[in-house]
């Protein structure tokens, strides 16, 4: 059937709304849960439900990320919302037997709140979910991303129908501008303004491009959005195409996201088969289609001009702006580049109005932001909060603090382009202006929690290793400078540095920031500069060589003879016979006993 009128859209909506059966069992197949074989759980549920003749009453829904990835694999059973965590294959039989047949509960699979030390049966009652507000992730985990009908049942494609019937392209740009939506890919540029730029360009052909490169190595928001609710992106891009005068869209996605590409492809062909992509959408004169472009592993391709070069089949090197992509983009034509999360907000803004959206969040920072919360935090997962939420709320309430009651010393945002936020700033509301005031930036949404044991110099080296490897090499300050900074950090960590190295780091960092062509180079020193400012004593301890040190085992050499473990006077070496041995650096007293007995010279002196 071709859906080309509102009536037909409503028909499908009505036919697929509400819980189709008495009980709905949602099995998470987001990346994290899928890695723990949640597809096998899903299969087992289906088999058992069929075997026990429960299929009249129970439907099994395959969903995208349910967000609480650290507790996966997850299953939520509606209507009451019972949530079972960390399920293994053998638990499936028990859930079917007890929950679905006997109507009792499997309490041992409830989430245990580590602070209250109490089991919490319902998702809605967990601190992790309570403070969240969902716009971008609205359908993620609630619908089957493989079924376009599920999306339509949640008012999907209605915004597109509205726009094509009642809006001029200017109206759409105006609405988006009034809503205050800003780019979620890191730059924070007002989206409505950007759309106006492209709209005003004269050209025979224009393009709209979704940046799904998600380069921050600590982030998984965009992929979860695509896997969990691909049609929201498709609908948004069609709206954006209409608003800017583009009839062809492209989604540039990193090749590493193979798992996300599958549901996206399926969604595109479902949309085509319903006539929601193709020619004359909703009987208007507007034609629109989308193609997928796959990257090949280069962080810098997330930068919009590099991304466009890569789409041309070239090396993904950035170029100077202007001209901006909205003037000269793909194939030299005006092109709009937006991030995945930016896009998926659009249909909601059209449906609920610009005022609704701008009433959420803070002045100048409307709406919500999705963060990928990970690192030293109890509740790892996807977090969507209104702009203006504080770091403290995210880390301590939603995140539940650090495991084992450790103290949290900083939160890293913005990945390799970002910096650390320390305890003194934990009450800062997260919005564009407040972050700017404390010299930080929003970034794309990676949020890594660091506890008292984290070594900031080591972490800076990690980021510099990343950026120096990913520098495209076009400008010397970035190419050579990041290497130099990396070498200095390496030297410091090996206790071979000097106090002068700290000054060198600062100078180099400053030069790279000011002399690099693109955002990669300009922001590459940020992780070092911000940790040097927040934790100078950690750098000094290395530079003045006063750091209390520990021996370390080179794991590529250790044969697991256990000799070292047996001589250690403070019992700080762990390992099994013929397995890897590891020294706990906190407890090591650097006596050197282990070093003397190791037959493989695997123990490195500090």
């Amino acid at each position: 059937m071709r859906i080309d009128t509102r009536e037909k859209l409503s028909e499908i909506k009505t036919a697929n709304s509400g819980h189709k059966k008495k009980v709905s069992l949602y099995v998470c197949t987001g990346t994290s849960c899928l890695s723990m074989s949640s597809d096998l759980l899903l299969e087992r549920f289906e088999i058992l439900i069929d075997e026990k003749n429960l299929d009249a009453d129970v439907e099994v829904v395959r969903t995208g990320c349910l967000r609480f990835c650290g507790q996966g694999p997850l299953v939520i059973i509606e209507p009451e919302g019972t949530t079972y965590t960390q399920i293994s294959l053998s638990d499936v039989d028990e859930i079917v037997e007890k929950h679905l047949i006997e109507d009792t509960r499997v309490e041992r699979l409830y989430y245990e709140d580590p602070k209250l030390q109490k089991k919490v049966p319902l998702a809605d009652e967990m601190d992790f979910y309570k403070k969240q507000k969902r716009i971008a992730l609205r359908n993620c985990g609630l619908i089957n991303p493989w079924r376009i009908e599920d999306y339509i049942a949640q008012d999907g494609y209605r915004a597109l129908a509205d726009v094509l019937e009642n809006y001029t392209p200017e109206d759409v740009c105006n609405t988006i501008e009034k809503s205050g939506l800003r780019g979620r890919g890191g730059g924070g540029f007002p989206t409505g303004k950007k759309w106006f730029f492209t709209l005003r360009e004269e050209s025979d052909e224009k393009y709209i491009i979704c940046n799904a490169d998600e380069g921050d190595p600590g982030a998984f928001m965009d992929r979860s959005l695509i896997e969990g609710d691909p049609h929201a992106l498709i609908e948004a891009m069609a709206i954006g195409g209409y608003a800017t005068g583009a009839t062809q869209g492209y989604i540039y996605i990193r090749a590493e996201y193979e798992v996300s590409i599958e549901p996206l492809r399926a969604a595109l062909s479902a949309a085509r088969s319903y006539g929601l992509l193709g020619s004359g959408l909703f009987q208007s004169g507007f034609d629109f289609d989308i193609e997928i472009k796959i990257g090949a592993g280069a962080f810098v391709c997330g930068e919009e001009t590099a991304l466009i070069h890569s789409m041309h089949g070239w090396r993904g090197e950035p170029r100077t702006k202007p001209p901006f992509p909205s003037q000269q983009g793909f194939r030299g034509r005006p092109s709009t580049v937006n991030n995945v999360e930016t896009f998926v907000n659009v249909p909601q803004i059209i449906l609920n109005g610009a005022e609704w959206f701008s009433s959420i969040g803070t002045e100048g920072s409307s709406g919500t932001k999705v963060f990928a919360l990970a690192g030293s935090v109890r509740n790892v997962g996807l977090v969507e909060v209104p702009m203006g939420t504080t770091f403290r709320d995210i880390v301590h309430v939603i995140g539940g603090g650090a495991p084992e009651g450790k103290a949290i010393k900083a939160v890293q945002i913005g990945g390799p382009s970002g910096g650390v936020i320390t305890e003194e700033h934990f009450d800062t509301p997260i919005d564009y202006y407040s972050l700017n005031d404390i010299g930080a930036m929003m970034g794309s949404g990676g949020m890594i929690v660091m506890d008292e044991d984290s070594d900031m110099v080591d972490i800076s080296k990690f980021y510099l290793d990343f950026t120096q490897e990913e520098s495209c090499g076009k400008c010397p300050p970035c190419r050579v400078g990041t290497k130099r900074m990396y070498e200095i950090l390496d030297r410091l960590l090996a206790m071979e540095g000097t106090p002068e190295d700290l000054e060198r780091l600062r100078t180099l960092g400053h030069n790279i920031q000011t002399a690099s062509l693109c955002g990669l180079g300009q922001s590459a020193p940020n992780p070092v500069m911000s940790t040097m400012q927040a934790f100078p004593e950690e750098y000094e301890a290395y530079a003045y060589r006063t750091k209390r040190t520990a021996y370390e085992i080179d794991l590529s050499l250790c044969i697991g003879c256990t000799k070292c473990k047996r001589v250690c006077p403070v019992d700080c070496i762990e390992g099994e016979l013929r397995g890897a041995h590891v020294i706990d650096p906190e407890s090591c007293i650097a006596c050197g006993a282990c070093h003397e007995v190791c037959p493989k010279d695997a123990i490195i002196e500090p």
């Binding site: 190595p217 996201y257 280069a298 890569s310 041309h312 990945g415 890594i448 794991l555």
Partner: protein
């Protein structure tokens, strides 16, 4: 014509070349824009992109081989060297790093006797580090071909690698 200009593809499987030809012929639109995609497909067929294969692709697409080589060397997922039967990927996303993924990587390199991105002598392993795979809840994460191992400690690695060496990788 100088000798090195003759394109010798005798070491490449003919059937795979025919398959590649077929894919190249079915490109619609601009061939240059399809280059990265074709290189992905060529690498899937042959396992890696030796220089003569790059030149072959260049010739078929009517592009200079220097341009094709420039693209191959720019993107980290393209490999100019053969790869082992098992690709061991250690996630070096930030979350995995702060939980000790570097130690896990080091251990794996020791056990397989290789360096990063270099195939082990027995042809079994290529070990690489990859960026966040989106399973931060399971940090540190290691994948071996399609199988994912979560919460990996350096001491778990021995067992896992031993199984692959014996050939019974699916025994859990």
């Amino acid at each position: 014509m100088k000798k090195q200009d003759v394109l010798d593809t005798s070491n490449l499987d003919e059937q795979k070349l025919a398959e590649l030809d077929h894919r190249i012929e079915s490109i619609e639109g601009n061939v240059e824009e399809a280059l990265i995609d074709i290189l992905h497909q060529a690498q899937n067929l042959f396992g890696y992109l030796p220089y003569n294969l790059q030149r072959y692709v260049a010739k078929k697409l009517g592009l200079p081989s220097a341009k094709v080589n420039g693209v191959v060397t720019f993107y980290s997922l393209f490999s100019e060297r053969p790869r082992g039967k098992y690709t061991v990927s250690v996630c070096m996303g930030t979350a995995c790093f702060v939980k000790g993924a570097d130690k896990v990587l080091n251990r794996i390199l020791g056990l397989t006797g290789t360096e990063k991105n270099v195939m082990s002598e027995d042809g079994l392993f290529t070990v690489q580090d990859v960026r966040c795979i989106g399973a931060c809840g399971l940090a540190p994460v290691v994948t071996i071909n399609d199988k994912v191992y979560g919460n990996v400690k350096p001491s778990d690695v021995d067992d896992i690698i031993r199984r692959y060496k014996k050939g019974d990788e699916y025994a859990d």
